[in-house]
Every structure is written in C-alpha cells, then in structure tokens.
C-alpha cells in the first residue's frame, strides 16, 4: 500500500525518505534506566534534609472552627509549622499564568475545606516519621457542612456553594455564560428532518494517573539567595511561575531542576508540591522534601475528571446524521485547575470526526466537593470520544447499518467545515476505518470501501450555515431558577447568526508590545490570510486585523490608543471582547452574536472589541500598556480581575509579568 504524504507545512524542507520509520531505535535515556543511574527528583541527597507533611481535611465540606497544634509543636524533632498565613500570596489558579480564570485555590486552606484531603497546615520535621506523627497529633474542630458530589445536583439552586470564587458552582465562560456553548446550524430543523432520533447518556468516572513515582519536590537554599528545587513536575516552568506567584518571589531566585519524571500522565502538572517545598526551605533555611505518599497520591492527586454526556442525534434513513446535540458536565472537583480549559478543548473537538450540518452543545464546568480534576492523557477529548463512539454504535443499530460503514458515511473529509468553523485538513478517518475493517476481517459494503477522505469533501460541505442561537444560561440564572441544561431548550428566545459567519481568530496570546506582533503575511498556515483570496474571503473576518485600530463600539471605556494591540480579536481563552455586549445591536433584529467565539462578519454589524459586560467603568485595560514612565505605570492588580501579563500583581515576578523587558 503506497503512502501518500500530504504536506502543507515546510513542504520544501521535507523529503519523503522516512528512513527512520520501521527501524528499531534505542531510547536515548534508557541506559540510565537499566543501570539504575537515572536520577529522579528524590535521587538528589542533601545533608540535613527535613520532611514536610500536611494535615488534611477528612470531610468533603467543612469549616475550620479551631486548630489545636500544641501537642504537635511540643514533639521532639518538629522544626516548624507552616500555616496559611505563612504563604505570602495564598490564592492561585493554575492557568492564571496564561490569563485564564480567576484565582480560586489557596495553597493551604485557612477557612473552609471543599474536598476531602484539602491541606490546612503543614509540619516540617527532622524525619518523615516525626512529621507524620505530628500531623496525627493536630486536633481540628470541624464544622461539617452539607456537600454535593454530583454534577447535576450541584447545578440546582439549593446546592451548597463549593467554590466561593464561583458561587454558581460553574466556571464563568466569557464573563457571560455558566457553560461553554457551541452552535452550528439549526439542530431543531435537523431533528425535524430526521427519520430517527437516537439518544444516549454516558458517564465516565474519574481516573487516577497513578504514576509509579508519587508527586514530590525537594527544595534547598542555594548560595546567592536562591533556592534550588528538584521536582517530579511535568511542567517545569508552570511550577516555577506558580511558586513565584504563591510565594511572592522573583522567579530569578528559583532554580528549578526537573526533566526526569517517574511516570506522569498529566498528574504532575498541578504544581502543588514545589511551592510547599520552597516555602519550607525558605522558612527553615534547610533542605525540605515534600512528597506525597501513595494514599495521598490516590486521594489528593488530581485525577482525570468525571464527565457526563447526553447526546441526541437526528438521523436520516440512509444513516446520515443530520443533527447532533450535546449536553456535557465536567466534574471539576472543588477548584478549577485545568477543567475549564479541558472544556474549551473539548468543544473545539465536537461533534467528533464527523461532518454533521447542525450541531449544538452546552458544556458545563461544574464544581463539586470532590478532588479537583486536572490533566490526563487527552483530557477533554477522550471522555467525549467514548460517548460519541458508543453513540455511533447506537445509531448504527437504530438505523440498521454496518457500524463501520456508518462511520465512513459520516466521516469528515478534506475541505469540510467543522462545527467550530475551521476547515478539516488531512483527514484520514475513512482510511483508518477501512484498514481496521480489513485487519479485522470485516466485510464492508462496496460504497464504504470506495470512499476516500480526498473526495466528495468541501464545496457545499465547506459552507458555514445560518446558525440559531440562544442566551440561556447567563451567569447567575441558575441560582434563581432551575434552567434546562440542554442546548436550544424550548421556551428560550432565539437569535441567529447569518450564514458564513466565521469564528474569531485562534491566535496566540495578544502581544505584550506592539513590536512583538506577528506580521500576518508571515504567519502562513495559521491564518486565513495566508490562503489565496477566494470566494470565501468576503465572509471571513480576518483573524488578524490589518488595521491597527478597529472601529470601536461607542460608550465604552477604551484603553489608551497606544495599548491597542494589532489583533482585533483577542485569544480564544478570552473571547469576551470579541462579542458585542447584549443588546448592542443597532435597530431591531437579533443581537449579532450570542455564540462564544463567533464574531460578526465584517460589514455593518457592531464592531468587535467591546469590554466585558459591566466593565464600562473599569480602569484595568484588557491588554498591557507600554511604558509611560517609571515603575508605577504598570496597572495595579485588582483581585476581581483575572491574572494578566503586564499587571503588577503581588506574588508574580517581574520576569513573568514582562516588566523586566522594559
């Protein structure tokens, strides 16, 4: 079977002599593994090493009335207790380093524990055993509170508040919705045209990464007023930045050494052990090891979060799926960590590798009193893929068609438009299905055997349809009354987006300085501008505005002109500004856009850069300003604002804030 190489990146620089493929190659690090000489974080020995362990909540949801540490403090070998007030900036969210989400999680919880195992106090002792015994000697008076462990129960108006930063028990998307929306076409029309309606509900459990080496870190004072930190982290610079922020230290004082991980699978990105170890070293002046034992790894270590999915398909008698709607609930646990991001990633993946003309999804990032969830091997994708593929089998049975032929019939092909308004490229599901069927000895119908990803895609399938929208699920609505969670529920006012409306550009984070902006003509494959101006061009809002200052909606506070980035649309992580505020559409008719991530086409619609609802009086600009003078020019940190680059915030080093560049 000949291999066809489809290359649109670096085509001239790549040849097709793939002479490494099929050849056995020895891992470059395996000699260390088989001789036992590979050094993991715990294989660095320090004289006078101290051991740190945590006192943790035994309850799902409980307020701390009082803590009696007297017995622990009297124990021989106890060096130091570390309390929440010893953490200089005791609030963080992991993705604040890229400006996504609000700080919601303390390193040590001072008031109310929201999950079983949340740490409230740490004890540093000469030996691990002493630290363990001292933790056991701490007496905590708990006021046990009602808890919620189910995602849909957490959405009810009467559910207990899990995370005070998000009192609705949902992550706030785009400062407007309590869920991430996806709207493509008109699912109601698709369901009406269908011969079969197939519905299914799917539930995934949390999965613990369970690496052989548990999470841990050793930190020690270095000379020159720095701290060295050997860590098992999978995200060295995330851990460094998080430590700098929580401990309010310049990151130049942190010397992080990682690189060798005894298994991670996503469970070692949360940067929980490094700040504790460095804090311990700073408070004691001695090397400190903070490592989870196996029970902690299983109870406290953040798993892949549980997901619940409801999928409804409208299917034609010949097996073509005409409409598909999703209602999804991600169980974030008590704090955000990476679940908010997992959903953004997930919704970009819907409706799976299939071309379906009408798609809608409401996906909720729900806080419950369970262990916070985080990354694990394809998180955000694998859970919903399980649901989608189970659903495909259900559809095949309902319609009476071969399950592999059904997938080939509905598979996306090159040139098709995906529901998040990006063109499908280098698709290969059809070929994969054909090879899998052949290897399994599965006989496919001739039509399925003849199909190809290279043919019959694009053209009509490349069109972006007129899209029906709704505004249900605005932040706070659910606290007032039970809201239907499913997309386009009956009784909700509808709007629409004209056919051909593209999504906002998916570009990297907005540049901090104008001289860091990318030249759109050089971005190549990343933007629509690199493609020859074809018939699609008029409908496409260019992802990178050629004009430095796009027109602005009136009556809103604007950042100073000098701060205007070259990008007319902000990153997808912060798509607020790409949406006109509700009711801003001139005249009658529906608001131009209700759908996150969708900008109106260039033309008479209201222009795209509008601050978030209610931000009209806010002085904090969405983008950093260039220097206008000495130090205090950096805008002050406002605790209500998400962490941003360029905003001087307690606990963030100037290096990370970008101020050092000035």
């Amino acid at each position: 079977m000949s291999i066809e190489f489809r290359k649109d990146l670096f085509a001239e620089e790549r040849d097709d002599r793939l002479n490494e493929i099929g050849q056995p190659r020895i891992r470059q690090d395996i000699l260390g593994h088989v001789t036992g000489r590979t050094r993991y974080y715990d294989d660095h020995l320090f004289d006078g090493l101290l051991h740190m362990r945590c006192v943790r909540s035994p309850h799902h949801n409980a307020r701390i009335r009082s803590i009696d540490t007297s017995a622990a403090e009297r124990m021989a070998g106890v060096v130091r207790l570390v309390r929440p007030r010893d953490v200089p900036h005791n609030i963080n969210t992991l993705l604040s380093l890229i400006g996504f989400g609000r700080d919601d999680e303390p390193l040590l919880q001072p008031e109310r524990c929201a999950y079983k195992g949340e740490p409230i106090l740490a004890i540093i002792a000469e030996t691990e055993r002493t630290a363990r015994e001292a933790c056991d000697a701490v007496r905590v008076d708990w006021e046990v509170l009602p808890h919620v462990l189910d995602v849909e129960a957490a959405l009810l108006p009467e559910a207990p508040v899990v995370n005070p930063e998000y009192p609705n028990n949902t992550f706030d998307y785009h400062d407007r919705y309590d869920h991430q929306k996806l709207r493509f076409g008109d699912i109601d029309a698709g369901f009406a045209a269908a011969d079969h309606i197939v519905e299914g509900e799917y539930q995934m459990s949390p999965i613990e990464q369970a690496p052989m080496e548990t999470c841990g870190a050793i930190a020690a004072p270095e000379t020159n007023d720095r701290f060295v930190c050997h860590t098992a982290t999978q995200a060295l610079f995330f851990s460094l930045g998080t430590t700098a922020k929580l401990l309010d230290m310049a990151s130049s004082r942190l010397h992080f050494i990682g690189g060798t991980v005894g298994g991670g699978f996503g469970g070692k990105v949360d940067s929980l052990t490094e700040p504790m170890a460095v804090l311990g070293a700073r408070l004691t002046g001695r090397p400190v090891k903070f490592a989870w034992d196996r029970p902690e790894e299983m109870q406290v270590g953040a798993p892949r979060g549980a997901e619940r999915w409801r999928i409804k398909d409208g299917v034609a008698a010949d097996g073509r799926i005409l409409a598909r709607s999703f209602t999804g609930f991600f169980d974030a646990g008590a704090y955000t960590r990476l679940s908010s991001y997992a959903i953004v990633k997930c919704v970009g993946h819907l409706p799976g590798p299939y071309t379906i003309p009408n798609v809608a999804a409401n996906v909720y990032c729900v806080y419950t009193n369970r262990t916070p969830a985080t990354a694990m091997r394809g998180f955000g994708i694998t859970g919903v893929d399980f649901a989608i593929e189970c659903q495909m089998d259900r559809v095949a049975r309902a319609v009476g068609i071969d399950p592999i032929a059904l997938r080939i019939l509905n598979a996306y092909r090159d040139g098709d438009m995906k529901a998040h308004r990006r063109e499908a490229k280098n698709t290969a599901l059809i070929e994969c299905a054909q090879v899998a069927a052949a290897k399994a000895g599965w006989t496919l119908p001739a039509e399925a055997l003849a199909a190809s990803s290279l043919r019959d895609g694009g053209v009509a399938r490349a069109e972006i349809p007129r899209t029906v929208t709704d505004q249900a699920g605005r932040i706070g609505e659910r606290r007032r009354a039970v809201q239907p969670p499913e997309p386009l529920a009956p009784g909700v006012p509808r709007g629409e987006i004209p056919a051909g409306t593209r999504g906002s550009a998916v570009v990297a984070a907005a540049p901090q300085r104008s001289d860091m902006a990318l030249d759109p003509t050089r971005i190549g494959h990343r933007t629509a501008l690199s493609q020859p101006a074809g018939p699609r061009a008029p409908a496409a809002a260019p992802p990178v505005s050629p004009s430095p200052t796009p027109p602005r909606a009136p009556s809103v506070a604007s950042p100073p002109p000098a701060a205007q980035p070259l990008y007319s649309t902000p990153p997808t992580f912060d798509p607020v500004t790409s949406q006109p505020s509700l009711g801003s559409a001139p005249g009658g008719g529906p608001p131009a856009s209700h759908v996150p991530g969708i900008t109106p086409p260039t033309g008479p619609q209201p222009k795209v850069t509008v601050p978030p609802t209610g931000a009209a009086g806010s002085s904090a600009p969405r983008h950093p300003e260039p220097p206008a003078g000495p130090a205090p020019t950096t805008p002050p940190h406002r605790s209500s604002e998400p962490f941003q680059r360029g905003v001087r915030r307690p606990g963030v080093s100037r290096f990370l804030s970008g101020a050092r560049r000035r």
Partner: protein
Amino acid sequence: MPKTPVTFTLNGAETALFVEQGANLLDVLRRGVGELSAKQGCAQGGCGACTVRIDGALHLACLTLAETVEGAAVETAAGLADGPTLHPLQTAFMEGFAAQCGYCTPGMLMAASTLLEDTPNPTRDEVIEAISGNLCRCTGYAPIVDAILEAASHMRRGAA
C-alpha cells in the same frame, strides 16, 4: 534514638553503618549508603519498585527492617552490570524498549535476574509469574516479558 550497627555486603562491597531502630532497608540503602537504584513507589509492599535480593532471594526493601540484613549479601540493580559490560537483561531491556519512565525498571531487573538464575529456560507464563509483583504504569508488560525471554535465550546461547 538508639542506633544499631549493621554490616552487610552491597553488590559485593563490604558496607557498615549505624541505622535507626525500625528503619527500613530502602531508606538505609538510599539515604544511608547512597545506593539509589532501588526506588520508592508505594512504601507499603505493593509495587515492587524497591525489589532487592538478599542472600539470593527477592525482598521488598521497603518492608525489610534494615537490622535484619546483618551479615547478609544485598544486591541491587546497580550491581547487575560487570563494570562497563551490561548484563544481558539490561541489553535486552534497552533493545526491546522495555522501559519508558524507568522507575519500575530496577525492580523488574532484580525479579527477572533472579528468575533466570533459577530457571534458565523459562516459559512465558513463568516470566509473567516472576514479575507479577512488579507494577509498571508506562510500557505495558509485553515488551518487558519479551525482553526477559530474549535475555534468557541470549544467556543460554552464551552458556552453550
């Protein structure tokens, strides 16, 4: 806390040190002696990452009181190679991609080398049985079993 003198050979070398009462062999090897090839995975006898050989028999170092190895011969994965010459098991693990993160590998190698000393021509089932006390979370077990069988075959060819 009172300390006990303990003398043993570690990979053939005379070793003597004072250990705290109740200290386990894994901590003593790693922090007392500086022999780091044995790893701590669970510290409760469940994972096999700390597997060592004491007087020729496999033991979990995390569950072994250090005082009990007085006068014994302790062997770890660091002692498998003969100077710069790797043990056939080590070579087979390298060539067969039988390690990924490598954290379980020293324990696996101890279990496998003990098997091959007693059973030069093991069946696949015997290999699986021999490493059943050693968990691996990365590679899956098939490449490890293959590598052990390959090493056994290589060692028989060398002996013949």
